[in-house]
Symmetry: C2
DNA sequence: TAGATTGTTAATCGATTAACAATC
DNA sequence: TAGATTGTTAATCGATTAACAATC
């Protein structure tokens, strides 16, 4: 359901806006505050909350702390999430060092790569050989993985990950991966994101009233 | 218009599928072939093409080469696109080395950073100080920039980029940026993408019929 | 010609928004 | 109480899909 997907993304945005509002001293927030902060309508905020059975107070809005906690638990952020990264090239190693993940309760447990030169068990996030994927994943009970390998090997890597027990994947390879239907795949295509900026920038330059709102 | 945005993203996908089909020897393709390759309906393909005045032959489908060329020109890929990257931390430097951009006719002309230690004019993609942003952008007539700086300084960086003449931005900072309405901004939030995988993976584990299709 | 595929219109589907009764 | 905000229903809006006439 695509509805749910967009709604979940908005919940994440509400959560991040709430953290900022809390820092500003907001003890309670109204749907209107959140709407402004995130750039949606107040009705959208209330509709989203009602879909996930989040309730407030008829005249007093929502308690900031309670709301953040509820969103965290909904989004699976009540416990540390362990994730592996397969492919330790440019993108993969950037993700392994990316501070924001840890701040959000996401821990990169290990990186994996075929080419021996990358393998480095001693670094902060160990980089292991693909041979060790299966045992590492089952030993550490990891369900989530990131694919940051070249397009040509992405499908084979996904198959190995699924065989090892991975259930959810964030894929940076610019290709449609095939997997059993109980496997969750989310694609990020950086070239496509930049191409879309290029297209719309040109479109606006040619025809300034072609207003566009970014995703 | 959000329609247009989704349509453009699909055009990009068609283009990338077409390159693969051409390698397989397809001289002409049908809307049905593209639909299968990209995972949409044939009607969607034809509708998208009609929106952008791309026509085929009533019984002979579309000429692969001509179609690729048309899509490239629509997407602004007929000339080399020069882009700058501001912020040379993990994500920024990964993007500067990312091979797929060059393969798609996107050239990272320079990176920019405040902290002096990063500055390195001699490397393949020069890394310059923020002081040089304005002159570099106007000298090289660059319209597109990537923001890969920490959240706290993202708005200030955007303001400088806009002042320097940048018209379109791909933003990796997890925050809603404010800009004049003729500036195109596209946001990529990596934490949010991973969080969404975590959420849906949990949802499917709890309730296997909660089928989800990735973006 | 008969068959197949496009291009487009109309129908459907789903998501967002507006409005308002409930109520604190 | 009067005023304000939620939670939800109904209305709107827009995107996708189905269907089919045109035609190669």
């Amino acid at each position: 359901m695509i509805t749910t997907k967009n709604a979940i993304i908005r919940l994440s945005r509400y959560k991040s806006a709430l953290a900022r509002l809390r820092n500003l001293g907001f003890v309670k927030v109204f749907s209107d505050n959140l709407a402004d902060a995130v750039g949606v309508t107040a009705a959208q905020v209330r509709k989203d909350f009602s879909m996930f059975a989040i309730t407030g107070h008829r005249r007093g809005g929502y308690q900031t702390d309670a709301l953040i906690e509820k969103l965290n638990s909904l989004l699976g952020k009540d416990s540390l999430q362990k994730v592996i990264v397969v492919g330790c090239g440019n993108i993969g190693s950037a993700l392994m060092k990316y501070k924001s993940f840890e701040q959000e309760g996401i821990k990169i447990a290990a990186g994996f790569d075929t080419s021996g030169s990358f393998v480095k068990k001693s670094s902060e996030v160990p980089i292991l050989s693909m041979d060790e994927l299966q045992s590492f994943v089952s030993k550490h009970k990891i369900h989530i993985g990131v694919i940051a390998v070249p397009e040509a090997v992405a499908q084979a890597v996904l198959d190995q990950m699924v065989a090892a027990g991975i259930k959810g994947v964030l894929n940076f390879a610019p290709i449609r991966l095939r997997a059993p239907e109980n496997i969750v795949i989310n694609n990020v295509n950086l070239v496509l994101e930049l191409e879309s900026v290029i297209y719309f920038t040109r479109a606006v330059e040619k025809n300034p009233q072609a207003l566009v709102e970014g995703g």
